[in-house]
Amino acid sequence: MSDSVIVFEGVSKVYGRKKAVDNLNLSIRPGETCVLIGPSGCGKTTTLRMINRLVEPSAGRILINGRPNDAVPPEELRRQIGYVIQGVGLFEHLTVAQNVGVVPRLLGWPQSRIQERVEELLALVGLEPAVFRNKYPRQLSGGEQQRVGVARALAADPPILLMDEPFGALDPITRERLQSELLEIQRVVKKTIVFVTHDMHEALKLADRIAILRDGRLVQYDTPERILWRPADEFVQDFVGGDRALKALGLIPVTRVMEPAANGKARTAGPTGSAGQERRRPGEHAEAALAAGSVPATVPATGTLRDALSAAILNGLGDTPVVDGEGNVVGWIRRERLLGVLAAFPGQEAAP
């Protein structure tokens, strides 16, 4: 408890007669991504906005690094907490660089340091500084805008990042990409992230811990695995969906069931690459497919068990190649191992 970065202690927020948040107790650990999720009106955004005091709680208190968050003026508090919202809210009259530099400027950093930091952050979020520095928000795509939004939130290197449905307005492909990039960025910056979404897929992908809210109450606060395998009640079960077992497979890296390709002799899983290469003893089905010049369904090495199952089904549950970024086969999914792992699941994976 004491090493938690953010602690909600009996926090409630009442609007008129409606309790938006009802006696919430929640502690968020340093460096973790905590996803707040629930149906519309469950109080997740209110909960998030109480952390940086855009909303003041009606009862209870919120500790940040052990200190009540109302111990300092709200503006001072907010400058130490990154904030990313769905609408992005880039200042349209400022350039990308000026947008990213807003908080450092509020904090009175010298110009040279701001400039340095801006370059660093644009590179971090995958925007070439030379190209984007002097552009204006209206010249950017939605995905680029939100990248700038993330860079802006990270500008003063705050230990905490609040993200309110940051990818909600993006098209599915861009959303997926930004989620992956966020994971990459998080690996570098190791912030404590509080992330609001209503998309379970997004929650499972990003969260270290998921807090499921309903009518302002915390229903379950757990790791994604435990949420899927051990839903606290019927509501959670319904909320995660009937395919929760498949979703759970999506949390397990494919490498867990992969049989590595022997001798590291990588082969290309396409008709062209296979010609003339030494033949190991891969599964018959895939081998036949390779020989016939057709491409069997493959799994990327970065994929999940869910991807592996999908590809295996496409291959008639035959052996399925696992490929790296260049299309080299790095291993195989075998039917027996796959089925064995699947059969053993609920018992094994329920452990935290």
Binding site: E75, R78, Y83, E92, L94, Q139, A153
Partner: protein, 254 residues
């Protein structure tokens, strides 16, 4: 760069007007040639075109300046969260009521209350021209993108910083349009103010109507129209130049 273009536009406007006003002899000759039946109409006894022009420009610039100096702060105050609930309806009804009153009535009311001359005319013009500035300021501030306000607040801007760094830059085009409306309106009121002895082109026009002398009316009306057009042109340029670059991209403003 911007400042150069700004000064360039201002100089062009002033030179155009100055030259036109200085050519009063030519104007008089043309008007007398068109209306030979009024040989004594010009030169106007109330003052030269230059003097009337200077007086009219004084009235218009001074009143527009005062409208801006009063209207923008009032618009800002009316839209602050603390006052918005009480003030927004007041501003609204004031603006609506104000626009239904003819400028002639405003000037007529100024006479018994404030008397004759420059200052009463100025007061009437400020009262009348205040409304477009106030309305546009309030509307512009009310319409600043919520996401940007939320982001600014969430990033730790104080209310003043939010106003200065986000709300006002976004409102510049609409506020300037209000100032332009007010200025052009004030040219018209300045003429009517001739009725209460404010001088300027209004004097020639009022006199000309009184005496039923068309060339005298034209002698005041043409430079007044020119003043309004040039002022409008200059203030449009000002809007273009002062609108932040990032806001001019993409969407076009009508």
């Amino acid at each position: 760069m911007r400042i150069v273009r700004l000064v360039g536009s201002a100089v062009t406007a002033i030179v155009l007007l100055g030259v036109f006003f200085r050519l009063e002899g030519l104007h008089a000759r043309i008007l007398l040639a068109v209306w030979p039946q009024y040989p004594d109409a010009l030169p106007f006894q109330g003052g030269s075109m230059w003097q009337m022009g200077v007086r009219t420009v004084q009235l218009v610039l001074l009143s527009t300046f005062l409208c801006t100096a009063i209207g923008i702060p009032l618009g800002i105050i009316a839209t602050r969260p603390r006052y918005r609930d009480e003030w927004a309806p007041v501003v609204n009804s004031l603006v609506n009521a104000g626009q239904t009153i003819p400028s002639l009535a405003i000037v007529a009311l100024a006479l018994p209350l404030l008397g004759f001359g420059f200052v009463p005319a100025l007061v009437a013009m400020v009262l009348y021209g205040l409304l477009p500035v106030l309305r546009n300021t309030a509307v512009a501030l009310e319409n600043v993108d919520r996401a940007q306000l939320d982001a600014g607040r969430g990033m730790g801007m104080t209310p003043w910083q939010l106003l200065w760094m986000v709300e006002l830059p976004h409102s510049i085009p609409v506020i300037l349009a209000g100032i332009r409306t007010s200025a052009v309106l004030n040219v018209g009121v300045a003429v009517i103010a001739g009725l209460i002895g404010a001088g300027g082109f209004g004097a020639a026009i009022v006199h000309g109507i009184d005496l039923r002398v068309p060339p005298l009316v034209w002698y005041g009306a043409v430079p007044t129209a020119l003043l309004a057009i040039i002022l409008d042109f200059f203030l449009r340029r000002l809007e273009e130049i002062l609108t932040p670059r990032g806001l001019r991209l993409g969407t076009k403003r009508p």
